[in-house]
Symmetry: C2
Subunit: 147 residues, 2 copies
């Protein structure tokens, strides 16, 4: 794992979002900032359990719940049983590869929902979820076919 953030930076990041910086919260935030793979709660738990042997899964859920409430993360509901979490809260779309399971980001214009049918509606959140085969996996398939 890349070590890109100092403890001071992480603490400030939380404080800026009105979150008291506990050890677990700092560790979860650090993981999210350094591993931008849209991890599940279990991904986070499995990665931190070595560092914090007493860590409970409930704490991970509690932390993510708090992070969501404070706008630090967004939850992704991608037709999987587990939710994923995204530290990048800027508006963007997600592509999930059916083969490798990776989730890719891509840019989308937010004005796609500027339609007559939604006049008078209050929009809080927009999710753009695309499913298919990613470039890498697709190229692998093509190479196999050539042989």
């Amino acid at each position: 794992m890349k070590m890109t953030y100092t403890i001071v930076e992480l603490r400030d990041y939380l404080k800026r979002h009105d979150i008291k910086p506990s050890t677990i919260r700092i560790k979860v935030l650090e993981y999210l900032l350094n591993n931008r793979i849209h991890p599940t709660a279990d991904d986070i738990y499995q990665s931190l359990i070595n560092d914090i042997p007493t860590l409970s899964k409930t704490s991970v859920y509690n932390t993510l719940e708090l992070f969501m409430k404070k706008g630090v993360v967004n939850a992704l509901s991608l037709k999987e049983k587990e939710l994923r979490y995204d530290i990048n809260t800027y508006f963007h779309g997600h592509f999930r590869c059916e083969i490798c399971g990776n989730v890719y980001d891509f840019p989308v214009s937010e004005k796609i929902i500027a339609v007559e049918e939604l006049k008078g509606f209050v929009i809080r959140n927009v999710d753009i979820n695309v499913y298919g085969i990613c470039k890498k996996c697709n190229e692998k398939i093509k190479n196999k076919e050539e042989k």
Copy 2:
């Protein structure tokens, strides 16, 4: 429930989609065509249990699974615990109201995902999910505030 479809029409609808028309499948299809509310599996079960007292929930799940495989319905994963099902398989977006829970359809251009970042990706499915407060609920809130 509106009675808009004859049994012959329902049977043909299933046959056209390569599905053997059993009693349960016809009833589930009829429900989906007449109740375009993006129902959950349980919504469907609760509505049919009066007609078919021996109906099991597994049969509803089996039927929906088959309908999905054959392209008769799409599943909607809308940040709720239960999946919803949509008989309208034409490309469109969904708006879920946080207050009344209703899910509204709205048109979207499919070319929103024609971005450089997805070149070489095979796109199988696109979901546009919007969350907020619907027009009706918003007007109710406004009226209360005025008083």
